[in-house]
């Protein structure tokens, strides 16, 4: 099967004035379907730039990026927007939900920008299915400020899933959550991954990275280590070991 992500000697250089910053230097790297990868590194290591390029929010200066066999390195603004809409689901550290907008409508957002004609009813149904996948079917009408942090992040995951993307891209998804909720989110990710979803996650927390299958460590714009996780944590077991969850 073809790789979901393929970087061919990809570089990203920012120039501010006379100084050139090489954020990513000639990185080559592949992610196969069904993988669950954590990209790690200290700040300034280039992992955020990697994330932006992976998410088609930014373009490489040199090299090639094939996403799901499509060369996206030279696409224009609108074409990239369509790729983001169809191929990538985003989960952010700060959830990035629209406030004063119901969970259901937040999940519908990518559907509204999909260039397909679908009835409002069909959109509702798809969004509701996505919310049910993350266990929030009953909270569809709630606004983000009526939901806990973990619930908000799961709404964001539902939004990421709604267009059935090839890749789920998570940027520090547990950064704003307590450890128990973090493990719950990792449980959701592991469940999705078990069903075949390819997930790439940027994190700086080692214990969170242990829930993935493969850890890529970056430093100064290059990959310094790329290993399979030898002893993977299973979120469900971790949760069972913790105190019983307070009744929600």
């Amino acid at each position: 099967m073809a790789a979901v992500i393929r970087f061919d000697a990809l570089s990203k250089t920012y120039s501010s004035g006379d100084v050139e910053v090489h954020a990513v230097r000639e990185v080559s790297f592949e992610v196969q379907p069904g993988e669950f990868v954590a990209i790690m590194g200290a700040s300034g290591s280039g992992k955020s730039t990697m994330m932006n390029i992976l998410g088609c929010l930014d373009q490489p200066t040199r090299g090639r990026y094939l996403l799901d066999d499509i060369d996206v390195s030279q696409l224009g603004r609108d074409a990239l927007a369509d790729i983001r809409n169809q191929k990538i689901g985003f989960v952010f550290q700060g959830f990035n939900l629209l406030s004063r907008t119901s969970a259901l409508e937040n999940v519908e957002l990518p559907l509204m920008y999909a260039r397909t004609q679908q009835s409002a009813k069909a959109l509702h149904a798809r969004a509701l299915t996505a919310l049910e996948t993350v266990g929030l079917g009953k909270r569809a009408g709630h606004h983000p400020n009526q939901l806990s942090g973990g619930q908000q992040q799961r709404v964001a995951i539902a939004r990421a899933l709604v267009n059935e993307p090839a890749l789920l891209l998570a940027d520090e998804p547990t950064g704003n959550l307590d450890s128990r909720t973090s493990i719950e989110i990792m449980d959701t990710f592991q469940t999705l991954n078990d069903r075949g979803m390819t997930i790439v996650m940027v994190t700086h927390e080692h214990d969170i990275a242990l829930f993935t299958k493969r850890n890529v460590v970056m430093r100064d714009g290059v990959i310094v280590s790329d290993i399979l996780v030898p002893k993977r944590s299973v979120a469900r077991d971790e949760l069972a070991r913790l105190e019983p969850a307070p009744v929600p």
Binding site: L57, R77, D82, N96, P110, Y113, A114, N163
Partner: protein
């Protein structure tokens, strides 16, 4: 993204900041309201002027005698009496496109009936006068050509004069005395109302011009001649020909001034509406400025809104919105603001003009066209002043917008 969904988002965003939205709209509301009220007032006034102009008569040309100057005192139009009956007859005979001619004598006279008396405007006219002024009778008949030739002592009375002398009784067939000469009233005129200059046109007594000359004033010269053209289009040409004819008859050498004045009805109408036009354009300019200010207010608030919602824009871009989706969203928001403001302004304007009509008694009339144009114009203001903020929103970089705090 569908337009209906975009519109829903826009309305929701505006309702989120109700106070701010209303204050932003206020500029447009006041601007459009002012425009509608002003249009209502001026077109009401113009309709009134039009009615007065048409009360003047139909396709009329007015010829006045020139003025005289004696010992430095200038007497005003008509006093010199340069026009003679022969001039009137010549016009009727020689100028094509003339359907009626009425020589005019005008003075003020005291009239008496029984023990009542009243000082009124005395007009000496020909029988054509009533047709050219479109002045119908309420009762009786006008005097005839025969009575004009005979200088009969007959009169047609205006409503105001009749009321002053006879109260509610029918004046037709009654006798009145004008300068102690007895006259038979043959007809009562229908009321015509105020003239362009504001005088009461019904305060009048009309007698044959021959009678006026021979029995009342002793004059042989006319104050003026009223002429009726066959049609509106025939007037300018008839005016030229009358001027030429009169110059020839009065032996006025080339280069010398006329000793008479010829005025078409249309010229008089134009003079009357010129003032209204100046007023309209002045007030229109004021309204335009207030709409401009309203538009700037919308631009200001939209810029604030774009900054406030940078993160939202980032999210939308990240999940696949094109630049033009964002552009459209903010543009529709601005247009919604201005269009709703426009509708409220139209209601305010209609209300104001209605209140003015009721309380101050000013005639107002708001044409449907003015309402449609105001509405479209306020929409255009939304587009013009919303474009820059919307463009700014659409050209945000998704990464920067997502990171924006």
């Amino acid at each position: 993204m569908k337009l209906a969904a975009t519109l829903r988002i826009a309305v929701r965003a505006l309702r989120r900041n109700k106070m701010r939205s209303v204050l932003t709209m206020l500029g447009i509301i006041i601007g459009v309201g002012a425009v509608i009220a002003i249009v209502g007032l001026t077109s009401g006034a113009q309709a009134q002027v039009q009615a007065q102009i048409s009360s003047l008569g139909k396709n009329m040309i007015l010829i006045f005698s020139g003025s005289t100057t004696s010992s430095g005192v200038r007497t005003g139009w008509g006093a010199a009496g340069t026009l003679k009956i022969e001039d009137a007859e010549a016009i009727e005979r020689e100028v094509p496109g003339v359907v009626g001619v009425s020589p005019e004598i005008r003075s003020t006279a005291q009239v008496a009936a029984g023990n009542q008396n009243w000082t009124t405007q005395l007009l000496g006219e020909g029988p054509d006068y009533f047709e050219m002024r479109q002045w119908a009778l309420a009762g009786g008949a006008i005097f005839t050509d025969q009575e004009v030739r005979a200088a009969s002592k007959v009169a047609v009375i205006g409503r105001t004069t009749a009321t002053q002398l006879f109260g509610s009784a029918d004046p037709v067939g009654q006798m009145i005395r004008v300068k102690n000469v007895p006259f038979l009233i043959t007809g009562l005129l229908k009321p015509k109302g105020m003239s362009l200059m504001g005088s009461d046109q019904d305060d009048v007594l009309i007698v044959p011009y021959t009678t006026a000359m021979k029995r009342l004033t002793g004059d042989v010269k006319l104050r003026g001649i009223n002429v009726q053209g066959a049609s509106d289009e025939a007037l300018p040409r008839a005016q030229q020909q009358i001027t030429a004819l009169l110059r020839q008859r009065h032996r006025i050498a080339a280069g010398m001034d006329d000793d008479f004045t010829v005025r078409g009805q249309q010229e008089i109408a134009e003079m009357a509406s010129a003032t209204a036009k100046i007023l309209t354009s002045l007030l229109g300019a004021v309204a335009g400025v207030s709409l401009l200010v309203g538009g700037i207010g919308i631009m200001n608030i939209m810029l604030v809104s774009v900054t406030e919602r940078t993160r939202e824009i980032g999210i939308r871009l990240a999940v696949g919105a094109h630049g033009r989706d964002i552009l459209l969203q903010f543009l529709i928001e601005a247009v919604t603001l201005s269009a709703v403001g426009g509708v409220l302004g139209i209601l305010l304007g209609l209300g104001t003009s209605e209140i003015l009509a009721r309380t101050a008694g000013w005639p107002t009339h708001v044409p449907v066209m003015a309402v449609v144009v105001s509405f479209c114009f306020s929409g255009v203001i939304g587009v013009v002043f919303g474009l820059y903020p919307a463009w700014k929103a659409a050209s945000l970089d998704p990464i920067d917008a997502l990171r924006y705090e």
